[in-house]
Every structure is written in C-alpha cells, then in structure tokens.
Amino acid sequence: MGAGHAHRLYRHGHSPVHGMPPHCKIAAVFGFVLVVVSTPREAMWAFGLYAVLLVAVAFRARVPIAFLLRRLVIEVPFVAFAVLLPFVATGPQVHVLGMSLSENGLWGAWNVLAKGTLGVAASVLLAATTELRELLLGLQRLRMPPLLVQIASFMIRYGDVITDEMRRMRIARESRGFQARGVRHWPVLAKSAGALFIRSYERGERVHLAMVSRGYTGTMPVIDDVTATRAQWSHAAVLPVLALAVCLTGWTLR
C-alpha cells in the first residue's frame, strides 16, 4: 500500500527507452493516449495496431510482456465495470447465449476496455522505464508549476516513510497481541492512522530541515542537466506519430 509500490513498478535497465529524457517520454505517452482516446470505437483493428505499437515499445525497452500484463491488474475494477455495462445499459438488445445484452452497452464496454487498457499499458511502460525522480524532473521540465512538483516529490518521499512507519506500528501492535479482525477493531486502526500521520510527519520534517539547511528553497537544484536533443525528441515522437496515422486512417475508413 502507498507509494512504496513505486519502486517495484520501476524495472531497472539500460535500454534506449530507459535512456530517453523523461520529459520526452511523458509527452510521448500523453500524446499516444490522447490519440487512442479520440479513435472511433468501431475501428477495432486500430486498437489492435496500437497494442502492436506498445508491444514494440516494450520490446525496445526490454520489458517482458509478462511484467506488463501483471501490471495491468490495476485495471481490474474497470473491467468489472465494463462487464456490467451490457447488462445495465439501455438501447437495442442483442441475444447471446440466452442473455439479453444491450448493443450500446457492449460497444461501451469495448470502448472502456480497449481505451482504458491501452492507456494503462502506456502508463505502465512509462513507469517501468522511468525512475520516480526522473519523472518529477520531467514534469518540472514540462513546466509543471514548481509548487506541484514540490508537493509531488515530498509525497513520494513520505510514501516510503509512511509504509515504513506503518510496518513498525503493525509490528508493535502485533507483538502486544493485537490483530485486526473486523469492525470492532476499527477504532484502534483509526487511532493508528492519526498516530501514523504525526510520526510520519515528524520523521519527514527532519529530512526537510536537513534539506532547508543546505539551501533548499522549493525546487530541486539541477545537478545533471537533462536537455533533450532534437534526435531524442524525434525518437520519442515515433510512438504518438504512428498512433496518429492509425487514428486518422480509422476516421477516414469509417
């Protein structure tokens, strides 16, 4: 639970995708998702091509497909929703295996599933090939307001602190014989949440003081300047540009 997962999302490597400047990657992923979302849902083949594009990127990044698929599990709540759509949506009905399904709902389910899955897969690839810190640097380079970058970087740092403190408190609770079993123990857990908050804060505050003492004023100092060359930008642009071509074909063939 918490941002501690972030480290497991990242997959260390030295592929061309790993080495790309983070802001190029973020821009490319965003462009790709934008194109995917604006594709007509009837153009099923287009979504297949998008998937092929992503698999190619995964191959370039040397990210195993199994890893990618495991990460897609985050999508499960939406899959559950999408499966329900044909049953609850209105409109003309079709009969499959004796069940009456809404045609519109089926299209809707496909729409959410296809676009959602492609979006998730693109983000998973981004997270798998970009370290958290790089990601923040990238967002900073893409002109995200410094205050937001600051909150985000503290958030990631505290994520570790919170998971760590949570583990310690759980050990402390359990070594005194407490185990959360059902609603009766919620008050204890709720109180733990308050204590957790303060403990995490005070620990994180010390880190912050150390940073401030060394001249931190709200933005991370640039130690290794990452500037993207024209070649890197065009390299990153391959994915969204190809996707755009697919999308435009999809619209013209409709």
Binding site: A3, H5, A6, I26, V29, V33, L34, V36, V37, S38, E75, P77, F78, F81, L84, L85, V88, T90, G91, P92, G105, W107, G108, A109, N111, V112, K115, G116, L118, G119, A121, S123, L126, A127, L135, L147, L148, Q150, I151, A152, F154, M155, I156, R157, Y158, G159, V161, I162, T163, A190, A193, G194, F197, I198, Y201, G204, E205, H208, V212, G218
Partner: protein, 366 residues
C-alpha cells in the same frame, strides 16, 4: 471513482480539463498564503497519506470503483487551496505511475475528486467551526461532518459529469443510486479516518492543522536579561508577553457578535438537515413510481432518461422503493449541504478578504 480513458466523451473531458486547470491555477495563487517553508512538507505528507488511503479500492456494483477520497483531510490540514493541489498531485501521480485514472480523464478526476471534495468539505468545516464552541473536540466533530458530506458530493459531481458526457447509455438513475449509495458508506469510513487523524494531530501538534489556527492562545515567553548570570532557578525572569512566532497568530478570534447567533445557527442547521432528510425520505415514493413507469415505457428511447433528469439529484430512485427513499432522503441532505456550502462559501470569502486586509502582515508572517 477514478475515471479511465474513454469513459467520458471528448467535449466534456476537455471542459473538465479547463475547469481543473483553472482551479489549480487559482489554488497555486492561494496556496502561497497557506504554505510556508515549514508547512510545505506537510502538504507532501497529506498527499502521500491520501495516496495511501486511495489505494483501498472497493468495486462498486454499476458504478466504477469506490475508495476513500481524502479531500476533506487535505482541506482541513493544509487549507483549501493547498488541499486542491495535494489531491490533484495524487491524481496526477496515480495516472502517470499507476495508470489509475486515465491521462485524458485527469480533468474529470481532478474536478470531482480534488475540487468538489475539498471545497465542499472546507466550507462545511469552516461553517461548523464558526458555530460550534471553540474547542479541539469541535474541530474533530467538524472534520467528521465535512468528510461525511464531501464524499457523496463528489459522487454527485461524478454523476453530473457522467450525465453530461458519458459514452454509454446507462440510465442516469442507476448511476446516481449506485454511486451515491456506495459513497455514503464510504463517506462514513472517510469521516472516521479524517476525524481520527485530525483529532490526533490537533491534540499533539495543533500548529499543523490549518483549520485549527486561531485555537491556540498567544504564547508567553520568559526572557532573562542578557548578560546576567544564567543559573536556572536562581533568577526567575519577569514574564514578558511577546508576539508569537507561530502560525497561531494568523487567524483572529471571531467577532463577539457571532456567539449570540450560534444556538440559532445550530438549531437551524439541524432542523434543515432533519427536514430535508426525513421529508424527502417519505416524499420520494411517488416520484419513484412515476419514474418507474417512464422507465418501463420509454426504455428504448435514449433521450427519455435524460429528459427526466433536469437536475443531477433528480434521477435517484429506480426500482427498489426502500433504496429510493433512502437515496431520496440523501438527495435532500446533500441539497441542504450544497446550499449551505454556497452560502457559507460566500460568507467565508468575504470574511477572509476582510481579515487579510486587516492583518496583512500577520497573514504572511507565519
């Protein structure tokens, strides 16, 4: 409640994107007043905390997914502007890192989960803190109330967005019932966690709770005359009251006139909520019948459910009467909440502005 890519159509996604960008821009300006060097990490911690609680996902029957939102906690601990920023950052990072919530749906997600929760919660919180006695317990109670309302409010906002730009024709009533029903439950859980957290922080580090500024008294600082022999206990210095260095100085105490109005306020609020909740509970039986008929007859007419729903709260009740009554009652309560929100929002804005013009130095000096 994280909306995936392709769930809301492009115009509405774009519109909510504009709303989100505008709100974040306003919040960035406002947050400069709320944050200083020492509270900046607090905003990060709040974001991390929200991140953690949002990971607890409950699947919701015919809605998307439900989880704790954290907007109330953020607004109370770090202030409404910073609160919006915190939750927005959480949503952004979830979208980019965990693919939770689509990138193109970011505007929609920020609008209903960051803006609506934070603003509603903070308005209710400030309103209650003004009318309740000035104590730490009141802060906790107000946090509970703010959180309890903020979650269904976000569900209503989501339903509205869905109604405007949903890509599939699920009857709006079903969406509303599922979303609001589940989020009332989630709201209770959220309220418990918010109240416990705020309560614990207020007890130990009241200086960290934005919403509780103004509770602590001015500090007394004893100083020894410099250069004197400094053996403790030997020369007890005279007590000197010095202007406090803490954020405690930021919010002034309420006008004395506020006290006499307080019982009236409380009574009025309780009555309004009871009326809205209770009366709508019984009143909702008839609309339910009406709608059921319309639903049965016009099932093939796509436009019909939309035409019925002039307001996002209209299409609450569908098949089950008991549920419908409950949700109808809730609609009432939320309606009151919304009205109260708008009312106190205006009030607070006016108050804040006046306060800042009166104490500009104290306001920034924390």
């Amino acid at each position: 409640m994280h909306v995936p890519d392709g769930f809301i159509d492009t115009p509405v996604s774009a519109a909510t994107g504009v709303v989100a960008v505008a709100a974040v821009a306003i919040s960035l300006r406002g947050a400069r007043r709320e944050l200083d060097e020492r509270t900046a990490p607090l905003a990060g911690l709040v974001a991390a905390f929200i991140f953690a609680v949002q990971m607890l996902n409950f699947p919701v029957a015919a809605g998307t997914s439900g989880h704790l939102l954290g907007g109330a906690l953020a607004a109370i601990l770090v202030g409404p502007f910073t609160g919006v920023l915190c939750v927005s950052v959480v949503l952004l990072m979830q979208g980019v890192l965990f693919a939770d919530g689509g990138l193109t749906a970011l505007g929609t997600n920020i609008t209903d989960m960051a803006i609506v929760t934070t603003v509603v919660a903070y308005a209710i919180f400030r309103g209650l803190v003004k009318v309740l006695p000035r104590s730490r317990a009141s802060i906790t109670v107000a946090s509970f109330a703010a959180a309890v309302v903020s979650v269904p409010a976000a569900a209503v906002a989501f339903t509205t967005i869905y109604w405007l730009g949903g890509t599939t024709d699920v009857p709006i009533g079903k969406v509303a019932t599922a979303m609001v029903g589940v989020h009332v439950l989630i709201g209770i859980g959220e309220a418990a966690i918010t109240a416990a957290t705020v309560g614990a922080v207020v007890a130990v580090r009241p200086d960290l709770v934005y919403g509780a500024r103004g509770l602590s008294k001015p500090l007394e600082l004893r100083t020894t005359p410099t250069g004197a022999p400094l053996v403790p206990g030997e020369a007890r210095p005279a007590a000197v009251t010095v202007a406090t260095p803490a954020p405690a100085a930021v919010v002034t105490s309420p006008a004395p006139a506020g006290r006499s109005n307080r019982p009236v306020w409380i009574a009025g609020l309780i009555a309004a909520l009871a009326l809205a909740g209770g009366v709508s509970y019984y009143a909702s039986a008839s609309p339910d019948g009406l709608e059921k008929v319309a639903h049965d007859k016009g099932i093939d007419e796509k436009a019909k459910p939309h035409a019925n729903d002039d307001s996002p709260l209209a299409g609450y009740s569908v098949k089950d009467v008991g549920d419908a009554r409950l949700s109808g009652g809730l609609a009432g309560v939320i309606g009151v909440g919304a009205t109260l929100t708008v009312g106190s929002g205006v009030f607070i804005v006016v108050r804040r502005r006046r306060r800042h013009t009166v104490h500009p130095i104290q306001g920034q000096g924390a």
